[in-house]
């Protein structure tokens, strides 16, 4: 059973992160809201419950490694890093601006980013190498890779899945943000992937399917993944793209388009974000 007080605490953090995402987009006036908002809850559970890390020392040997294969959700990534203390929250104002460490897609100039990503279908292969290397050295660190479901269309993704299953990388956990949408529309219409869970199973992965907006389920899944031995784990988190902003929910058009300033205010209002978020 998960600790109810922790669930409540994480929900509060997730709420702040959603406000941060909209706030960063308001300042940048470009970027990716949909997949940021869908992955928020499970990523909050990862960063503020499951993950071993030290934001004051991002090169700490004992840290777990996080690789955002879906690098386009930089509004979420940088909000998580700000909430963790890797960067100042105020730096989110510079997101996507010239000269900022917070680039359109994350790179290693930003503390807390292990590797630059943004070209889909590459992150999991990187995670496989990191997991293999850590295991070779007898290290207990875990490796997490955050992916989109559309990203499962990349052939390279399946090469990575195959190798992780083959090498029985039980120090590796994929968080699959199963929001059902990509840019051109519904994943099933563009290039169907179902039955997705069975595909991962067929490649020798342990599959956990959860409601990706249920904080207790997110925490339990991350706990369970740590216990699985002899195979890697994928948490298939069923989510809603644009979660939390009613008019963005399940709308492909909000994949890679920032809301205009007044739309941002509307979104912040709907999310009931505090007054300090309305400063743009």
């Amino acid at each position: 059973m998960v600790d109810q007080a922790k669930v409540e605490e994480l929900k509060k953090i997730a709420h702040r992160i959603r406000c941060d995402i909209i706030w960063a987009l308001a300042h940048a006036q470009s970027g990716h809201p949909g997949g940021s908002l869908s992955a928020t809850d499970i990523c909050v559970a990862l960063y503020f419950y499951a993950l071993k890390h030290d934001p004051r020392n991002c090169q700490w040997e004992g840290r777990d490694r996080v690789i955002f294969s879906k690098g386009h959700v930089s509004p979420l990534i940088f909000s998580l890093l700000a909430e963790s203390g890797y960067i100042e929250r105020s730096e989110l104002r510079t997101f996507r601006k010239f000269g900022s460490r917070l680039q359109g897609h994350p790179n290693i100039e930003c503390p807390g980013i292990e590797v630059g990503t943004g070209s889909l279908g590459q992150g999991l292969s990187i995670a496989v190498g990191v997991a293999l290397g850590l295991r070779m050295d007898g290290k207990p660190n875990r490796v997490y890779c955050i992916m989109g479901d559309g990203e499962n269309q990349e052939g390279s993704t399946w090469e990575a899945i195959m190798s992780a299953g083959h090498y029985k990388l039980d120090n590796l956990c994929v968080i699959l943000d199963n929001n059902g949408l990509q840019i051109d529309g519904w994943v099933e219409d563009v290039m169907g992937l179902q039955p997705l869970a069975d595909k991962w199973r067929a490649f020798r992965w342990h599959v956990i399917e959860i409601d990706g907006h249920d904080m207790a389920q997110c925490m339990e899944a991350l706990d369970q993944a740590k216990q699985v031995k002899g195979q890697p784990t994928v948490i298939i988190a069923k989510t809603v793209k644009g979660k939390g902003v009613s008019w963005m929910e399940n709308q492909a058009e909000w994949h890679g388009k920032a809301p205009k300033p007044d739309q941002c205010r509307e979104a912040l209002k709907e999310l009931a974000c505090p007054a300090e978020y309305f400063d743009f």
Partner: protein
């Protein structure tokens, strides 16, 4: 100069595909989850049964295009330059180019003018990786009309073609009636002291530079060279001989790109001093196109400075 209209070159791609789609039923378009932003959507809406979305799977898309070409279709694959000229390079090399298949590639989001998305999405190496491939034709149009003409030409040509275009609106500086001859440079301004050779939408900056140079008493020839491969050897050798100094301009890495292609000809025909305007061996970054053009040294001011510098090195 003030009543110049602006339009993105990708719009020229979209419009040309729709136009050619009506004329030739063999034309099919393939997308990889970027259908709207590459403007392939316009063709897809008009000819839904001749459009195939391959999802986020570029390597598969490229070889599927090769297969379609093998049975007589004229496939246009549409995605960002990085994800095609980078990600699917081996497929293009060993399947399309080695067997000289009739595959057409629309490489979108060329250059740093992509802006806020940053380094991962700004194709700065695609001209280099495409031009080293035997059988490949590489075209980087300068504006909307030139893009349309390039795509229309490519539809009629048999063999692999890479056409690069950009995301942001750029000034329309050519006219619909201007000639487009694959492999031939267009003379924009004649001059005697130096030649500026342009590749792609930076043309506008070159035109402004020519004006400034004129005010400074420097007579600059301006050649717009849309075709990187096969390059116009004749125009290059002539410019070298007649003006004695060359500055190349491109929105691409200077290593391996258009400037390198020009230099290869210059050193073999009539060696003269050269300067290279383009990306100087670094990755792109986030910012507005204007900020990035300034940072990466792609403005008229930078072209003028390069001309003044190359003139110092000019003999006699």
């Amino acid at each position: 100069m003030s009543e110049i209209k602006w339009k993105a070159t990708r719009d020229g791609y979209g419009d040309a595909l729709v136009e050619m789609g009506a004329q030739d039923e063999r034309i099919v378009v393939l997308g990889a989850d970027l259908t709207d932003s590459t403007r392939a959507l316009w063709f897809a809406q008009k000819y839904p049964d001749r459009f195939f979305d391959f999802g986020i799977a570029e390597q598969n898309m490229l070889n599927a295009a090769a297969g379609l070409a093998m049975v007589g279709k004229i496939p246009w694959v549409s995605t960002y330059g990085v994800f095609v000229a980078g990600r699917a390079w081996d497929q293009i090399r060993t399947t399309t180019c080695y067997s000289n298949l009739n595959v057409k590639i629309g490489g979108a989001h060329g250059g740093i003018s992509v802006g806020q998305d940053g380094a991962t999405h700004q194709a700065l190496e695609d001209v280099a990786t495409m031009r080293v491939l035997p059988n490949m034709t590489v075209i980087v149009p300068a504006d909307y009309y030139e893009t349309k003409k390039a795509v229309i030409w490519a539809c009629k040509h048999v063999g692999p073609v890479y056409v690069r275009f950009g995301r942001e609106p750029v000034p329309i500086v050519t006219k619909p009636e201007d000639p487009f001859i694959m492999g031939k440079a267009n003379l924009i301004n004649d001059g005697t002291d130096v030649t500026i050779m342009n590749n792609g939408p930076v043309l506008w900056e070159c035109m402004k530079a020519v004006q400034t140079l004129k005010e400074k008493g420097i007579s600059a020839r301006l050649l717009n060279m849309h075709t990187v491969k096969p390059i116009d050897r004749e125009a290059i050798a002539k410019a070298a001989r007649e003006t004695g100094a060359i500055v190349t301009v491109e929105e691409h890495q200077v290593m391996g790109g258009f400037g390198s292609a020009v230099a290869e000809v210059v050193v073999q025909t009539y060696p003269v001093p050269m300067r290279f305007i383009g990306i100087q061996d670094r990755f792109g970054e986030s910012g507005t196109p204007e900020e990035l053009f300034e940072e990466f040294g792609l403005t008229a001011k930078h072209i003028v400075a390069a001309v003044e510098d190359v003139l110092k090195a000019k003999r006699g």
